[in-house]
Amino acid sequence: MSENYTALYEQHKKAGASFTDFGGWQMPLKYESELAEHHAVRNAAGLFDLSHMGEVWVAGPEAAAFLDYALAGKLSAVAVGKAKYSLICNADGGIIDDLITYRRADDKFLVVPNAGNAKVVAAALKERASGFDVLVEDASAETSLIAVQGPNAEAILLKLVPAEQHALVTELKYYAAVEVTIAGDELLLARTGYTGEDGFEIYIPNVDAAGLWESLLAAGEGHGLIPAGLAARDSLRLEAGMPLYGNELSRHVNAYAAGLGPVVSLAKESDFVGKEALAAIKAAGVGSTIGQKLVGLKGTGRRAARAHYSVLKDGSLIGEVTSGQPSPTLGYPVALAYVDVEHSAVGTVVDVDLRGKAEPFEVVALPFYKRQK
């Protein structure tokens, strides 16, 4: 059993959620129907409790230089107010976690790791901080995170923001964050998400989380807002072609095989943990001319591929599915899979072993779903 409950556990129970263990946390899997929650996010709005995610603050005169060393991306190039998707890697290039880092000041960053990795990431950052004039503080236990995702997210949020601050919200760019007064509290608001829709993520102290959750639900009345669980979050991110740590990403996977080569900044002047290994992996052509590569698969029938199913070509094993399910938005099965690079070209038809029966799937470009802007 999980030991951790978010500050919103009672809200979820009251709403009739079924719970699941995720990264050591009891999290809402769904409230009533995960399909209805999925469609609400695509067509109106969904409210997510993401308080299981970690929040690690990095502050000090050398914060930017430190993150350039600790992470694979060039965080020193991120402007104050902006955010960047990055990776924290091992010396061998394996992925410890994928994370979003917000630059809040010249000398202050917020690093957001995944729930199951939060402690490991905080520990790795603290260890890598030795020799840098920087303070690493894990605020995960005190911080809640609430997301409003979907085309109506902005309209809902504006109802809780004073008129003179509306422009801060409406002009907030994707992958940027700003301090805004929401339902009376000054909070960190980010225009980020994991659904493929427009949306926001709000960082808030645990003690205020339940109040904000209720305020957002009330503001969402008439805008189609419903609470959404991890089942919908998973199907939404899969349609959007976004990797999930533990499925697509792990310590045994490198950025180039995962299609995250552009996230790695080999060009930055400073050394970083994993740089030498990743340079060698890239030079060897992993993910392009040798080894395996993460691809999108589209099913031709109705049966879905699931994680760990084998991918075959002419009866020979060429890969493995990492995530898969029927796509609620598109109406056909979608999957992510690692396959041998020679069978990874878009348009290639492969088979997936669906419990003993080979079913054809086509390699397609990612993402499966892209919202109309």
Binding site: S18, K30, A231, R303, R306, Q325, R355
Partner: protein
């Protein structure tokens, strides 16, 4: 809590059997199973005229989250399948004991089945 209907019998694999003593028996999956699976999006049923065997797989039920084998709770010939549920699998979630029925069998033998009370006690259902 998921509903368990008193008049039905249940298998350990969460199929229900409606037997009134005459004619083919109706078969479906319990609300406990439907709720655990989540929104069902695909169902594969045995063909009419085929023979199913108690305790053996005869199809599958797939939800957004997972897939699960369908086990026949009885042995016999399939006399009818619910075409409506093939076209609209959500019927299983909405009405597992009614419109969401799956198939009918001219049963010659029953597998081990539980009473509604036994099934509810073992699976946390509500009578």
């Amino acid at each position: 809590m998921s509903k368990v209907v008193a008049e039905l019998k249940y298998s350990a694999e969460h199929e229900w059997v409606a037997a009134d003593g005459s004619g083919p028996v109706g078969i479906g999956i319990s609300a406990v199973a439907a709720d655990a699976l989540g929104d069902i999006v695909y169902v594969d049923l045995p063909e009419v005229g085929s023979t199913v065997t108690a305790g053996e797989t005869c199809g599958e039920v797939e939800s957004t989250k997972s897939v699960s084998d369908l086990y026949s709770p009885v042995t016999g010939e399939v006399t009818e399948i619910n075409d409506a549920v093939v076209g609209d699998p959500a019927l299983i979630n909405n009405d597992p004991y009614g419109e969401g029925w799956l198939f009918k069998v001219a049963a010659t033998e029953e597998g081990p089945l539980m009473s509604a009370e036994e099934y509810a006690a073992a699976n946390g259902g509500e009578l």
